[in-house]
C-alpha cells in the first residue's frame, strides 16, 4: 500500500501495455481458478508484519494470507488450494492484469486512480489503516504540533512521506523531514534518537512501539495523517468474482456477528437458531447458486479458517506477538466500522 513505489515508472509502463492486453482476456475468473485447481494470491517478503509473513516452517501467515485462504475455502472447500505467489509491491498490478494472480489482497487501499486508471475493482474494506505518528515520551508531546521545530522520520518515497508533508503544510507545522528508504533503518533512526517523531502506517507503528525495548518510552500521538481503507482488488469487469470476494468477507463478519466460530460451527449447523443461519451454513439450500459456489461454501470458510475475529486475533491481535486491539476494525456493534452485508 504505502510501500515503496520504487519501480512505479517501469510498472506503469508495463501496465499501459497490460491493460490493453488484459481487456481481452478477462473471462470468467472463477472458472479459470476452478480449472487450475488453485487460487493465486500475492505474498510478499516486504509486506507488513501481521499481514503477510513466513513462520519457521516456511508457512505464510497474516491477515492478507488468511483472507486468501478464506476465499479459497469458499471456492474449493479447502484452504490448501491457496497458492501464495511471492510478488513485490511494484509488481502486484501487472501481475493481476496478466493473470499471474487472481486477486490482490496485500494491504492495498482502494484509490480513485487504481479504480479508474488501472482498470481495477474493489471489494468492501477489510481493514482500516491510518497513518499516525509516534514520539519519544520524554519530549512530553501531546499532538504533532508540539513537535514543531523538531524532526520526523518517514519511510522514503512512500505515500506516508507525501501524507506527512501535506499534513505539516496544512497545519502550518515546521519540521525537519528525515526520509529513509528501508523500514528497519527508519525505525532504527527513530529509536536511536535521530528523530523526535516517527510517522508510519498505523499497524507498523503499533507493532514497532509494542516491541521496542521500552514501550512506555514512546507515545502514539492522536493526529491521524490519513486514512486508507484496505480492500481486496480484482480486475475490472468480472462482477461475479468481486461478488465472491465481498460475500466471503461478509461471511467472516456475519459469523463473528452471530457468534459462529470454527469451534462451534458444526454444532450450530446441526441446530441452526434461525432459518437465516441455517441457509448461511448450508443446512438448507440456496446460498451458493447465485455465486457459482456450493451451498456450504460459508460453512467451509468458517470451519476451515474461522470468522473475522479469529483471523484478526491470530494475525494481529491477542494471539499474535503484536497484541493489537481491534479499534476501528471491530464490528459495528463493538465500536468499529466493519459490517457484513445481509444474508437474506
Amino acid at each position: 500500500m504505502m510501500k515503496p513505489i520504487l519501480l512505479s515508472t517501469v510498472s506503469l509502463g508495463a501496465l499501459a501495455l497490460s491493460s490493453l492486453a488484459a481487456q481481452a482476456d478477462q473471462g470468467d475468473t472463477l472458472r479459470t481458478v476452478q480449472e487450475r485447481g488453485s487460487l493465486n494470491c500475492p505474498g510478499d517478503v516486504g509486506s507488513y508484519l501481521g499481514f503477510a509473513e513466513v513462520d519457521d516452517n516456511g508457512v505464510w501467515r497474516g491477515i492478507d494470507i488468511e483472507l486468501c485462504r478464506a476465499m479459497t475455502s469458499a471456492i474449493f472447500g479447502d484452504p490448501s488450494h491457496a497458492n501464495i505467489v511471492p510478488i513485490d509491491w511494484a509488481q502486484r498490478w501487472p501481475a493481476l492484469q496478466s493473470g499471474d494472480i487472481d486477486i490482490v489482497i496485500k494491504a492495498s487501499g482502494g484509490t480513485r486512480s487504481r479504480d479508474t486508471e488501472l482498470g481495477l475493482q474493489f471489494s468492501m474494506s477489510y481493514y482500516l489503516g491510518t497513518t499516525k505518528v509516534m514520539g519519544h515520551a520524554e519530549l512530553g508531546l501531546e499532538t504533532l504540533a508540539d513537535a514543531a521545530g523538531g524532526s520526523i522520520c518517514v519511510p522514503a518515497s512512500t505515500s506516508t512521506e507525501r501524507q506527512v508533508s501535506s499534513y505539516l503544510e496544512a497545519n502550518g507545522i515546521e519540521m525537519e523531514i528525515v526520509a529513509i528508504e528501508r523500514n528497519e533503518e527508519v525505525e532504527a533512526a527513530y529509536f536511536s534518537g535521530r528523530c523526535d517523531t516517527y510517522a508510519q502506517w498505523g499497524p507498523v507503528l503499533a507493532i514497532a512501539a509494542s516491541q521496542s525495548d521500552d514501550p512506555s518510552a514512546h507515545v502514539l500521538l492522536p493526529d491521524v495523517l490519513a486514512l486508507e481503507p484496505e480492500v481486496m482488488i480484482a480486475r475490472q469487469g468480472d462482477d461475479n468474482w468481486i461478488d465472491i470476494a465481498n460475500w466471503t468477507l461478509s461471511a467472516l463478519l456475519f459469523a463473528e456477528q452471530e457468534g459462529i466460530t470454527s469451534e462451534n460451527v458444526d454444532e450450530i449447523r446441526q441446530n441452526p437458531p434461525t432459518a437465516e443461519i441455517g441457509r448461511f451454513l448450508g443446512a438448507t439450500p440456496g446460498l451458493g447458486a447465485g455465486l457459482g459456489l456450493s451451498d456450504d461454501w460459508a460453512y467451509n470458510v468458517i470451519s476451515q479458517v474461522g470468522n473475522y475475529s479469529e483471523i484478526f486475533e491470530r494475525s494481529l491481535g491477542m494471539e499474535s506477538p503484536y497484541q493489537m486491539p481491534r479499534e476501528m476494525t471491530a464490528l459495528w456493534n463493538a465500536g468499529g466500522v466493519l459490517f457484513p452485508l445481509v444474508f437474506d
Binding site: V45, A90, Q91
Partner: protein, 361 residues
C-alpha cells in the same frame, strides 16, 4: 627475463619488517597507530560476534537483549528460510543436495584437468540435469515443486550459473559479430550491445518478467524464472562482449594474419589463435564481471523471486525476530563473501598460471 643470479643481499625477516614499517619515528608512529585501530576494530567485531553473543537456539528477544552482542538464535531458528526460502520443508534435503551439485560442478570446471570441451560439456549437462530433477521433481517419485517455490541459495546459484552458461556463448557471439568485416553485422551487433548497456538491469528484468508475456505468443512465454534468466544473460552478454572485444584489441594483428597465412579457416583462427589470447587478456575483467553477475542475482527480488537476499529479509520479517536483522545480514554476507572471495582468489590463481609463460621483469 629474470636474471640468473640475484646479487642483492638477503636480509632477515625482522630487518625487512623494521625497514618497511619503522624506518623513521613518524612511520613507526603511523604503524603503531594503524595496528592499534585495527586491533580495536577486530576486538569490537569479536566481542559482538562471539564474546557477548547469544548462541542458545531457544533464546528470544528478551534473553538476547540481556547480552550486548549478536543474537545468533535467529539463525538457529530461521536458517531454513534463509537458505531455502519457501521450498517445501519436507523436501529441503533436495534443495541442499542440489546446491552441493552446483558447487561441485563449479569446482570441477575450475580445475585445469577438466578443460576439454567434452569434459566440461559432460559435467555441465549432467550437473544441470541433476540440479533440475532434484529441484523440480515430478519424476523418480519426487514431489513436484514449482519454480515459484524455489528460493534461497539454490535459486541464487541457479540464476548465476544459468546466466553464465547462456551469457558467455552469447557474449562471444556478439564480440565476434562486432569485429566482423561485414559492416551490417558489425553495426547490428554494436547496436544490440549499446542498447542493452544503456538500460538498467532492473528495467530489463522487469520487462522480461512482466511485460514480455503481453507481447509474446502463448507458447513462447514459458516460466517467469527462465524469462528473467534470459534477461540477466542478455545483460551479462552485452558487458562481457565488450570485455572480450577489449581482449581482441590487445592481440597484435600479425597473429591473425600469420594464422591466415598458414591456411587456417575462420573457426580455427578464432578457436585456436584469437579467442584463447583474448580471454587471457580479458581475464581480470571477466572475473570481475562474474562477481558482478553473482551480486546482481539479488535484483530478481523485484519480480518476486525469493533468492538469498529476499529469503533472508523474510527470515527477520516476523514478530519474533524483527529486531535481529543485523545478524541475518551478517550471516548472508558471510555466504556472499565465501563465494565472491573464492571466485576472486581463483581468478588471481588463474591469471598467475596463464601468464606464467609470459612474465616480464
Amino acid at each position: 627475463m629474470t636474471l640468473a643470479t640475484d646479487f642483492r643481499p638477503r636480509h632477515s625477516r625482522l630487518y625487512r619488517l623494521r625497514r618497511a614499517y619503522f624506518a623513521s619515528p613518524l612511520t613507526g608512529l603511523v604503524t603503531l597507530l594503524s595496528v592499534a585501530i585495527l586491533a580495536w576494530l577486530a576486538w569490537i567485531v569479536l566481542d559482538w560476534t562471539v564474546l557477548q553473543a547469544t548462541f542458545d537456539a531457544d533464546a528470544n528477544q528478551a534473553i538476547c537483549a540481556e547480552r550486548a552482542g549478536a543474537c545468533w538464535s535467529v539463525i538457529a531458528n530461521r536458517w531454513r528460510i534463509i537458505l531455502f526460502g519457501l521450498y517445501p520443508l519436507d523436501e529441503q534435503w533436495r534443495a541442499g543436495v542440489a546446491c552441493a551439485v552446483v558447487a561441485l560442478v563449479i569446482v570441477l570446471s575450475c580445475l585445469p584437468l577438466m578443460w576439454r570441451f567434452s569434459r566440461l560439456a559432460l559435467v555441465w549437462v549432467l550437473g544441470t540435469a541433476v540440479f533440475y530433477t532434484l529441484m523440480r521433481g515430478g519424476i523418480f517419485g519426487l514431489v513436484p515443486v514449482n519454480e515459484q517455490q524455489w528460493g534461497g541459495l539454490p535459486l541464487t546459484l541457479f540464476i548465476f550459473v544459468a546466466t553464465g552458461i547462456l551469457g558467455m556463448p552469447l557474449a562471444i557471439g556478439l564480440a565476434l559479430m562486432r569485429r566482423s568485416e561485414l559492416p551490417v553485422i558489425a553495426r547490428v551487433s554494436g547496436w544490440i550491445i549499446d542498447t542493452i548497456r544503456s538500460l538498467p538491469l532492473l528495467a530489463i528484468l522487469f520487462t522480461c518478467a512482466i511485460v514480455l508475456p503481453f507481447m509474446l505468443p502463448g507458447f513462447l512465454i514459458g516460466e517467469k524464472l527462465y524469462r528473467v534468466i534470459f534477461g540477466a544473460a542478455l545483460f551479462f552478454a552485452a558487458y562481457q562482449a565488450e570485455i572480450i572485444r577489449g581482449g581482441f584489441q590487445g592481440i597484435p594483428r600479425g597473429q591473425e594474419e600469420a594464422a591466415k597465412a598458414l591456411g587456417l579457416g575462420y573457426w580455427q583462427r578464432m578457436g585456436k589463435v584469437v579467442l584463447p589470447q583474448a580471454f587471457r587478456l580479458a581475464l581480470p575483467a571477466t572475473i570481475n564481471q562474474f562477481v558482478i553477475a553473482f551480486m546482481e542475482t539479488s535484483l530478481v527480488v523485484v519480480v518476486g523471486f525469493m533468492e538469498l537476499l529476499a529469503a533472508s529479509n523474510t527470515a527477520f520479517r516476523t514478530g519474533e525476530w524483527r529486531f535481529a536483522y543485523i545478524e541475518v545480514y551478517v550471516f548472508i554476507s558471510a555466504i556472499y563473501f565465501a563465494f565472491v572471495f573464492g571466485l576472486s582468489r581463483y581468478g588471481a590463481w588463474l591469471e598467475a598460471r596463464m601468464s606464467a609463460g609470459q612474465r616480464k621483469d
